[in-house]
Amino acid sequence: MNTPVVQARGIVKRYGHVTAIDSSDFELRPGEILAVIGDNGAGKSSIVKAICGATIPDAGEILIEGKPVKFSSPIEAREMGIEIVYQNLALSPALSIADNMFTGRELRKKGFLGNVLRMLDKPAMEKFAREKLTELGLMTVQSIKQPVETLSGGQRQGVAVARAAAFATKFIIMDEPTAALGVKESRKVLELIKDVRAKGIPIILISHNMPHVFEVADRIHIHRLGKRLCTIDPKDYTMSDAVAFMTGAKEPPAKDLA
């Protein structure tokens, strides 16, 4: 009953001489918010990308809800209800906000127009996109039809977060979703993350913001030098402990070691 949503063992990913993931383990449990912290270049983005099929690991096995998977593209992960907010957002700058929210799962008009002429139902997509962005409350955009390239960095991040939250059914990976956001907008995203958890959907949250991590996380996965160093309960440790483990200033206690 309590099979982990994601269970990864011995994941390895090398880029030439650089080892981005050095035989790392990973575990996401049902209904939890798992924060992933670590220095720049520790390999946080690399390991979540390996989980969702955006990169293909050289070795290791990944189980989703107990079943082994080998994604060859992020599209396959997406079809299982896994959504990702990439660190670089992965939006198409020249397309509109609505187009971006629906890339790869566009709504078509009903009847002949949609089935035969493949016509998009733009009004429906725009309405949905507007609702989702309003829910997030972080959009001060002028028009849902405006190209994403005319948005500020934070607004773009808002679009990517809204897209993931709107379509995820299994779990969401967010790679630094608040990095570009203002105080108010960050708060909205944190509330959104909690709302998503309340719906029973677990979240992997990569962040460098310790107060955010300690506020929302149920467990904290500390990544160091390409692998999981330990997993801690934020209630048992302080932020400075976490930073000390992450940077190698202090050894984590044996019970938490990966």
């Binding site: 939006l91 799962r105 493949r118 998009l120 001060t140 190209p147 005319t150």
Partner: protein
Amino acid sequence: MSENGSSASVGQDFEKKLDESDKSIASFNVKATSPFERIQHVLHNNPTLVPVIVLMLSLVVFGLIAGGKFFSAFNLSLILQQVSIIGILAAAQSLIIITAGIDLSVAAIMVLMSVVMGNLAVFMGVPTVLALFVGMAGGVGAGLMNGWFITRIKLPPFITTLGTWSIFYALLLWLSGAQSIRGQDIDTNAPFLKFFGESFNIGGARITLSAILMILVFLALWYMLNKTAWGRHVYAIGDDKEAAELSGIRTDRTLLSVYGLAGFICALGGWASIGRVGSISPQSFYEGNLDSITAVVIGGISLFGGRGSIMGALFGALIVGVFRSGLRLSGVDVLWQVFAIGWLIIIAVAIDQWIRRVSA
């Protein structure tokens, strides 16, 4: 902060003031911009506006210089007829350029397929409809071959199509024996090959079916690019292929379909060219590849991909036609026509760069 429920109460100290923050939807006080910047913005949102304006202006200018000769219904319809084949190639070319690719083989595919259709229908007694079908399928195949090298072997489009241009050109010389198929032979054996050379008159204008075909091709592509998911994907791939892949687009499959469709349009152009030229000549449209790129660029479609409307290429082709006709009727030497087209290209790209700076 407790009045805001439990969830927010764990927020940080500095967030306390958030509750008092302005809740109204942001209204933008549109900052006073120079007319120059405003034009830049309008053009950025409507990339086809530039070629439309240039087309209108050139019509007016040549109308003034060359007078009634130029502005007659007959001459205008002649321009339409003259640009129809390059226009069809430009439609195929735009599709590929929007994906941030380039196709140097469009004209070679077109002429090759017209030779295939001609050989089958005129010399080998194959029913014309079947010959046309083989030609169209060959066009799709040639396009898919380009697409296969580009998506599977990961070769750059420029190099791939430079190579296939030579390959297709050599094939067409071989198949044709470097000989033209004469118009009389087509008329007696397979007159339907010349279908798109048919024309009808309205009010002094002589509209050929090849011109109608060109316009239909553009309208169909416009619909596909703007009203279907496939079209959105084509733009997204040209914009940022990696982001498109990550956001759920099967980029290679879409690219393959783009090259296949472009090949089909080229073959269609091959059929239309038989009617337009009246014979099948392996030497025709040798510069068609570059002419199609010229039309696309003048039409404001960015060579960097992801930007510009397909209709721009139609206007681009028309602008070239209007310049050629206008300069000729004004008594200007051919070499200066070529000179003028060269400047048009450079100015068009400069304007594209300027417009793109809006987003930076």
